[in-house]
């Protein structure tokens, strides 16, 4: 406990407010992206439709399911520690990490295929024809968004690992589990970001 706090609970609540504010910031960060995305989509409907047809709906959908599950596993861990069961928390952490890694691997495969298919904006972009320009813009957004999201995932996995490590050290108990809550909040947020991106990337053309 830092000396500016009157109690552990005081500190815990402050940490939660800090995370909420951080997420408010994140909403505007991704919000700006989504805004420009939608704006450009409106400007180049055909190009975006073309590009969306080349997005990998299968991997995208599996990943959505994986990520949703990971939020459940982490929440299960949180509930476990609130009942005072650190072992369960550790297990939940590893399940979450596992799912997170699966997500990233699938994402990697998807990127690999995209690049292999020449879906990289620039002179050698493979979707030619009149709508190529719009499609390239789509792919800029696609890469910006998915890379940023993946970075958030990597940070998230690091945080969950840290939770597991601390749980193992016996830091958390029924009485005190703030960091778990804070990280849970973060993880759900990353999930929500994905749920916003998913329709933009994969479903816009349907």
């Amino acid at each position: 406990m830092h000396f500016q706090y009157s109690s552990a609970e005081h500190q815990a609540e402050s940490a939660m407010s800090g995370m909420w504010l951080f997420l408010a910031q994140e909403i505007l960060f991704f919000g700006a992206l989504v805004f420009v995305w939608v704006y450009c989509c409106y400007q180049h409907p055909a190009g975006f439709r073309l590009a969306t047809q080349h997005a990998n709906l299968l991997i995208g959908s599996i990943n959505t399911a994986v990520l949703l599950t990971s939020s459940f596993t982490f929440t299960a861990g949180l509930l476990a520690i609130e009942r005072g069961e650190p072992r369960r928390l550790i297990q939940a952490c590893f399940a979450t990490i596992g799912l997170g890694v699966v997500f990233l691997l699938l994402k990697g495969v998807e990127w690999f295929k995209d690049v292999g298919d020449g879906l990289v904006p620039g002179a050698h972009f493979s979707l030619t024809g009149p709508d190529s320009g719009g499609a390239q813009i789509f792919y800029v957004f696609y890469y910006v968004a998915t890379v940023l999201h993946a970075l958030h995932m990597i940070i998230g996995i690091g945080l969950v690992l840290w939770i597991a490590w601390r749980a193992r050290r016996g830091d958390f108990s029924r009485a005190w589990s703030t960091p778990v809550e804070v990280v849970g909040l973060y993880w759900s947020f990353v999930d929500v970001v994905w749920l916003t991106l998913y329709p933009l990337i994969y479903l816009a053309a349907l």
Partner: protein
């Protein structure tokens, strides 16, 4: 020197003095000092660029540098002054130092985050400055596309990355302040018992947290556009150059209020202290800060009145610009009300504060000139706009910074600064400032465009006047470096409350200990609880 009776006390300054203890400190007071050093460096860097520009403008054809160099100078000046000096200036230095003390807390809510934020700031700052020197950048601080994406050889991406990184330092500071103000107020300190400085820093922090991420994303997209030439902003590929301007100003307009709100806070503190009288209209001043923060998100379009947006958008944004000015007007009037029936003393902080009051009002009123559509058509992109924002940012905000710096100097260092020198500097700054920037209003009306390395000869006289003023200003800005530096060693020791001010920061020793307060104080009275005149007369 007068005798210094006090034995050297234990304070946050004396605690431990290794380099590591400073560079890894989580004490908000030490971090504030780290920031002081950095900010001062950036200010002088931007100032030297300004000085070179002013020298160049002595002759119509450009006295010393090429057009290309001049363009780099004002870009560097704008970028450094805005992002690495004025946006962080008061919050990260004075704010960092004073927020926990005013709250009656031992530190900010997240001390480690505070340190991280300094490192982010320095990384971004050094990165951007390095790029501005090595290769340079000539887009102006506004980075308008397609100039910045397709037509410049400058290091757009590198500078953008620098600004991006330091942006996260702003966000961290904002989060830290908001949480601290919500959660670390001393027992008994309700919202309406907070000093107004905290209200204005709170409003500033909201903008930090909500506007900066938009800039961050804009810079990412700008970088992609520059590297891949994809056509988000590039009209040749079906993009929209105005989209960039909308995104840029969506951040940068709120950012101008980031650059003034903390100054408002300092004003409320200094004016009450040196009038020895409670603030007039506490709630109005407090809520007007919040109002400014909110409305500021809806006026960005006033930078685009001639840019090719629709007439309807121009009309809407003009109206909103007038609306956002109302809370500022409320503040000015309430400050005047505070002087009324006070016991006014003219120590240096007060002189700077009165300077602020006058110069900010001029800057704000000329903001109304450019907010009025028909007038902006003539004045936009001329020196009138340059004068408008320097009156607010330099005449107003830098004065407020100096007011606060002198005001809290005894608390920060435990020493008193030499009063006479400080007053002389205040007068010199006021004089030099007006000489530099007043002629620019006239230049602007006469039509001299901004960002011109050379100009038609009939503008020379006014330009020479302006350059002369800037020399005086430069000297005046150097003075505090010397006398404040001198006072660090030789100044008289300060008591804990040299100005007889209210506020928790004055209730602890100068300079405070690392933990600020031996026991957390309990607040039992409203802020600015100075004796009322009627009580004084009765007592006398």
């Amino acid at each position: 020197m007068s005798v210094t009776v006090d034995t050297p006390r234990v304070s946050y300054l004396t605690e431990e003095n290794t380099i590591g203890s400073w560079l890894l400190t989580t004490d908000h007071k030490r971090i504030a000092l780290l920031y002081f050093a950095s900010i001062t460096g950036f200010f002088f860097l931007g100032g030297i660029a300004a000085a070179l520009m002013r020298i160049n403008l002595l002759t119509p054809t450009g006295a010393i540098v090429s057009h290309e160099m001049y363009n780099r100078l004002f870009t560097m000046h704008g970028v450094v002054m805005v992002w690495f000096f004025l946006v962080p200036a008061i919050p990260v230095t004075l704010g960092n130092f004073i927020v926990p003390l005013m709250l009656g807390a031992r530190d900010l809510a997240f001390p480690k985050l505070n340190l991280v934020s300094w490192y982010l700031f320095m990384t971004g700052g050094l990165f951007a400055t390095y790029s501005l020197f090595a290769g340079g950048l000539d887009t102006g601080w506004t980075f308008y596309t397609p100039l910045s994406t397709d037509y410049t050889k400058g290091h757009v991406v590198a500078v953008a990355i620098g600004i991006f990184i330091s942006g996260f330092s702003s966000i961290a500071t904002g989060v830290n302040f908001i949480v601290s103000i919500h959660r670390l107020r001393a027992p008994g300190m309700g919202w309406y018992r907070m000093p107004l400085m905290l209200w204005s820093l709170y409003a500033t922090s909201v903008i930090y947290v909500l506007a900066t991420p938009v800039l961050a994303m804009t810079l990412i997209l700008l970088g992609f556009e520059t590297v891949f030439h994809v056509g988000i902003f590039d009209q040749r590929l079906g993009g929209d150059p105005l989209l960039f301007q909308h995104l840029f100003w969506f951040y940068s307009h709120p950012a101008v209020y980031i650059m003034i709100l903390p100054g408002f806070g300092v004003m409320s503190e200094v004016l009450t202290t040196f009038s020895q009288k409670g603030i007039f209209g506490y709630k109005f001043i407090a809520w007007s800060s919040v109002a400014i923060a909110v409305i500021s998100f809806f006026v960005w379009g006033h930078h685009m009145f001639v840019a090719g947006t629709s007439v309807y958008s121009a009309i809407t944004f003009s109206l909103l610009s007038f609306m956002v000015s109302v809370p500022s007007a409320i503040k000015v009037f309430n400050w005047l009300g505070t002087l009324h029936k006070g016991y006014i003393k003219f120590d240096a902080p007060m002189l700077y504060a009165l300077g602020f009051l006058g110069l900010f009002t001029i800057g704000g009123l000329t903001g109304l000139f450019v907010a009025a559509l028909g007038a902006d058509v003539h004045l936009t992109q001329t020196y009138f706009v340059v004068a408008h924002f320097h009156y607010i940012m330099v005449g107003g905000m830098v004065s407020a910074f100096f007011a606060g710096l002198h005001y809290w100097w005894p608390k920060i260092t435990g020493r008193l600064y030499p009063e006479m020198w400080a007053r002389a500097a205040a007068f010199l700054i006021f004089f030099g400032f007006n000489l530099t920037f007043f002629p620019q209003f006239i230049l602007g009306y006469l039509g001299m465009p901004r960002r011109y390395a050379a100009y038609p000869p009939e503008f020379q006289v006014l330009n020479v006047l302006s350059s002369a003023g800037s020399t005086i200003l430069a000297v005046a800005y150097l003075m505090p470096v010397f006398y404040l530096g001198y006072s660090l060693r030789h100044g008289a020791r300060s008591p804990s409350n040299p100005w007889h001010a209210t506020g928790l920061e004055w209730k602890t020793q100068s300079p405070p200990r690392t933990e600020n307060f031996p026991i957390i104080p309990i607040v039992t009275e409203p802020p600015y609880n100075y004796p009322r005149p009627e009580d004084r007369t009765r007592a006398a």
